[in-house]
Amino acid sequence: MTTPDNGFSATRRLILQGAASVALVGLGNIPLGFAPAFAAANDKYPEEAFKQKGEADAIKSLYGKTAEASDKVKLDAPEIAENGAVVPVSVSTTLADVTSIAFLVSENPNALVASYRIPAGTVPSVANRIKMAKTSNVIVVVEAGGKLYSAAKEVKVTVGGCGG
């Protein structure tokens, strides 16, 4: 576990502040007149990125650029998932100025699984549990200092997380 000195990405944060209602309107299924119970969301939910099929398209939609592999991104995932419905996956990095971390599964119907916004002062380390349809690469993308870094690991899945 590392705690690099994160710079504060001020512009991004400022733009994001107060954009809650915009973010919510962007969600297709939200009924009109829906009042959010919270006003803390500070970025738009990347709806389009979540709809992309492959990981390359999803990364492009999310960031508008491509990622380079980096050994500073430490991805921890099992060799064989006990069940594709629940695969514990975590990441940490020694990179500085991390602003976001995304998890993708290349063989899932939609590759993008999660995208985490990491404000300054938050440790760039996340653990979560994801679904995997079948054996495939788990890819993690870390946005740091405006650049994208990635790491990948193959996880074998014999009981799929898509009802199989």
Binding site: T3, F34, P36, V86, A114, S115, P119, V123
Partner: protein, 103 residues
């Protein structure tokens, strides 16, 4: 009804480690039920953690997150006894929110 959100936030002096477990089906929209019909997508899209008036962590999720989702992260600061506010909104517009005390 009890909150859908369970949170453990533990301060170790410099940093606060946060773990959350949320009760939610997280249906991806790709799975068929026992009758062979597609279960429509129903998943949390945004999960926010707020401390001292600022977001310390925001998760954007798709249907690829496991049922009853779990997430763990840490942030610098956070004092024992302080409040951490957690909220989520799903693709159907449902929301839940809770406030946890940092331990």
């Amino acid at each position: 009804m009890a909150s859908s959100i369970r949170v453990r936030a533990t301060s170790s002096g410099d940093t606060t480690e946060v773990q959350a477990l949320i009760q939610h089906p997280m249906d991806s929209g790709f799975v068929k039920d026992s009758k062979g019909e597609i279960v429509p997508p129903h998943f949390i899209q945004e999960l926010t953690f707020e401390y001292d008036g600022k977001n310390v962590f925001v998760a954007d999720w798709g249907g690829g997150i496991s049922k009853d989702p779990y997430v763990k992260f840490s942030f610098k600061g956070g004092k024992k006894g302080d409040d951490l506010k957690i909220s989520w909104v799903d693709n159907k517009g449902a929301t839940d929110t809770t406030t946890a005390k940092i331990q």
